[in-house]
Symmetry: C2
Subunit: 374 residues, 2 copies
C-alpha cells in the first residue's frame, strides 16, 4: 500500500481520490471544505489547504509516494512545479495552458517522473496514437470527443461539467491542426460536420484546440486534428454569440459601467448549464488512425461511450478522465513506467505493456475502448 | 398649400417631411440638429426642439393645419395628447404602447381627427382588412411582414432599421393572436414556419405582437394573427439569447456591478446591426384574408415588396411606413376623412374612397400592393 496525495478535490479530483483509495492511502487536499466532505472513506485523509501556496503543497505531499495534480488549469503549472521541486513523481490532469516542457530539465535533475495531460482527451487519444505509430506509418489522426447531457433541451442542448467560462474558452481559442505536415490555425467552431454514433445518433463536430503536445511530439504524422462534439446546431448558436461579442474579455461601457461581456455571459450561463445531481450524461469519443503497415492500407478506430454511473454518482467526464489518471499513477507505482522528466501521454503510449495495463485498468471500471480495424 | 408640422425627424420622420414638402409647407422638428441637417428643402422649415415638453410642441404646431407624430414610441402618447390639446388634426406613427382610445373623448371634445398606427404594419394591414370586411365575412386574417437586408451575413442575417432594443422588444413581448374568436397569448418567436416570396426566396415567420387595435376593433373576425419575417434560422438564435437571459431588463450582479443583460446586449448589437449608408434592404409583407362572400369561399392576398431607393436615399421601411402616413395626412387635408376622435387605420379602411386614395398615392411612389384573388 502506497500513499498518494491528490491535489484538488473537484469533480475529477474526487473520483480520482475514491478510485485510488481502493488500493492505497490517499491524502486529498482542496481549499473548499465542501468538496472534501463527500470523501468519507477509511483510506482517505482530507486536508483543507490553499494550494496556490507552494509551502502548503510541500507539507501535504511530504510523505506521499506519488502526487496527482487535479487543480484548476490556471494554477496547474505552478502546482506541478512545486511537486517537482519536492522531488515527487506526479501525474497531472489540470490541463494548464503553459508549456510543460519548461519543467523538463528540473524534473530530470530531481529524478522525477512527471506525466501531464493524462485524462481522456488529451490523454487516451495521445496514448493510442503513439501506440499504433510504433508499428504503422500514420498518415492521418483524428479525434472527436465531447461530453453531453442525455436530455436534449433547446436551445443549447448542452450542459457543462465545469465552469461555462472554461467551455467558452474552447469556443474562442484558435485551433491548431496539422495538414500535410504543416501546422495551421483554424478558428474554433469552424468546419462543422455531422457524424453519427451508436446509441447516441447524429452529433456535430467542429474544430477546437485539442492537439496540445501532439503538435510538437508527433511531427512524423502529417495530418492531425481534434474536434469537439455537440448536438447539431450548438456551434451555430455559439458562433453567433461569439460573433456578436458576448465572449469578449475586453470591457465595454454600459450606462457608465465598465464590464467585460464574457463576465455577463458566464453569469447568465452558470445556472442554465449546471448539471442537476444525478443527471444522466455521457462522454463520447472516436479516434481514427489511418496509414500503412507493411505497405498495406490500415485504418484503426477506437470508440468510447461512457455514461454517468448512478451507483457511485460519478460523472462520465470524471470517470474517463480520472481513471486514465489513476491507471497511469499505478503504472508509475508498479515501476512499469520510470522515465525521468516531463512526459506527455504519447510517451507512455510508446510502451506496449503500459498501454495494455491502462486499457485493462479502464475496462475493469467499465470504461471500454472498442477497437475496429480495416 | 397647407402647413404641416412633422414632430420627429428620424429615419421615417425625414421621409415624411420630404414627401409632404412636394405639395405643402412643412415644419420639421427634432431634438437632434443632425437629423434636421439633411432636410434642406425650400418648403421645409426646421426647428430644433425638445418634443418631450408640451410647451415646445404647442409653439411649433400653432400655425399648422395638420400634425404628424413621428417621435420615438416611448414619448408617442404624450406627444399625441399635446397635439390633441392644441386642437390640431393629427396622423401618428410613433407606435406607442399605451391605449390610444384613452384620448378619444378629448379628441372628440376638441373637434380633432386623430389617426394612429398609420404605417405599413400596423397601418396598411388594418386598412385592407377593414376594407374587405365591409363586403365579405372574414374568417381568417394573417399578416406576415419584415424588413431585411439584401446581403445575408451569418450568423444573424439581419440588420435593424431602428434601435436594437426596439427590435428585441418584438422578440420578448408576448403576442396576442385571435383563434376561434378568442384572444390567446403566444410567446414571441413561437410557431416558426417557412414561407417563400417572389424575388426573395424562403423566409421564416414567427409570432409577434402586431395586431394591436385589431384585437379590439375586429371582434367579428374569428382568426387573426401577425407574424414577423426573417431569414431562416434567426428565430432560433434569438430564442437562444432570450432563453439564456440576454434580453432581460432585470439587473444581475457581475463582479460587484449591477447591470441589466439587455443593456449589454443592446450595446453589442448596436454597431453590428446598423445599416451602412446606401445599403440595400427591403420590406416584404403578405396579407391574407380568407372568408365568404355571398356564400362562396373567397381568398384575397396582398403582396408588397419594396426596396431601398438609391435615388432619394430612402429606406424601404421609411417609404412603406412614411408614405402610408403622408397619404393619410392628405386624406384629412382633402376632407376625404373627417370623423372626429381617435381612429385606428381600420376605421379609414371602411371608406372605399379613402382606401383607393391611399393605394393610388402609394402606387405613385412605387409602393405597390399586388392583389390576388381566389
Amino acid at each position: 500500500m502506497k500513499t498518494i496525495a491528490v491535489l484538488g478535490a473537484g469533480m475529477v479530483g474526487k473520483a480520482i481520490a475514491l478510485d485510488l483509495a481502493r488500493q492505497h492511502q490517499v491524502i486529498s487536499a482542496d481549499i473548499n471544505s465542501d468538496n472534501l466532505k463527500v470523501l468519507d472513506h477509511p483510506n482517505i485523509k482530507t486536508v483543507q489547504a490553499d494550494l496556490s501556496k507552494s509551502k502548503s503543497i510541500q507539507q501535504i505531499i511530504s510523505k506521499a509516494d506519488l502526487v496527482v495534480g487535479a487543480v484548476p488549469g490556471f494554477m496547474g503549472f505552478t502546482t506541478l512545479q512545486s511537486v517537482i521541486e519536492a522531488k515527487k513523481d506526479v501525474v497531472d490532469i489540470s490541463f494548464f495552458p503553459e508549456d510543460p516542457f519548461e519543467l523538463n530539465v528540473l524534473a530530470k535533475k530531481n529524478d522525477v517522473v512527471a506525466i501531464m495531460d493524462c485524462g481522456v482527451a488529451p490523454g487516451m487519444d495521445n496514448i493510442l496514437l503513439a501506440y499504433h505509430a510504433r508499428t504503422m506509418q500514420v498518415e492521418s489522426f483524428t479525434c472527436v470527443v465531447g461530453g453531453l447531457p442525455f436530455l436534449r433541451v433547446k436551445p443549447f442542448e448542452y450542459k457543462a461539467p465545469f465552469s461555462p467560462a472554461d467551455v467558452i474558452e474552447e469556443y474562442t481559442r484558435p485551433a491548431r491542426i496539422v495538414v500535410n505536415g504543416k501546422m495551421i490555425i483554424k478558428p474554433a467552431l469552424s468546419e462543422v460536420e455531422e457524424m453519427s454514433f451508436d446509441e447516441i445518433g447524429t452529433l456535430e463536430a467542429f474544430n477546437s484546440d485539442g492537439l496540445r503536445s501532439l503538435v510538437k511530439t508527433m511531427k512524423h504524422v502529417p495530418n492531425m486534428k481534434e474536434k469537439t462534439l455537440r448536438y447539431p446546431g450548438h456551434a451555430r448558436l455559439m458562433d453567433a454569440l461569439r460573433n456578436m461579442g458576448f465572449f469578449s474579455k475586453e470591457e465595454i461601457t454600459v450606462h457608465g459601467k465598465k464590464i467585460a461581456p464574457l463576465d455577463v455571459t458566464s453569469a447568465l450561463f452558470f445556472p442554465k448549464w449546471k448539471y442537476q445531481a444525478g443527471e444522466d450524461e455521457f462522454t463520447v469519443m472516436r479516434i481514427t488512425i489511418d496509414g500503412k503497415q507493411n505497405g498495406k492500407s490500415k485504418m484503426i478506430q477506437y470508440d468510447l461511450l461512457d455514461r454517468y454511473n448512478h451507483e457511485t454518482k460519478t460523472s462520465s467526464m470524471a470517470r474517463t478522465t480520472g481513471y486514465t489518471c489513476t491507471a497511469t499513477a499505478n503504472l508509475i507505482l508498479n515501476g512499469l513506467y520510470k522515465k525521468k522528466g516531463i512526459h506527455p501521454p504519447e510517451h507512455v503510449g510508446e510502451n506496449e505493456k503500459c498501454v495494455q495495463f491502462i486499457l485493462g485498468y479502464l475496462r475493469d471500471r467499465g470504461v471500454i475502448y472498442h477497437k475496429t480495424e480495416k
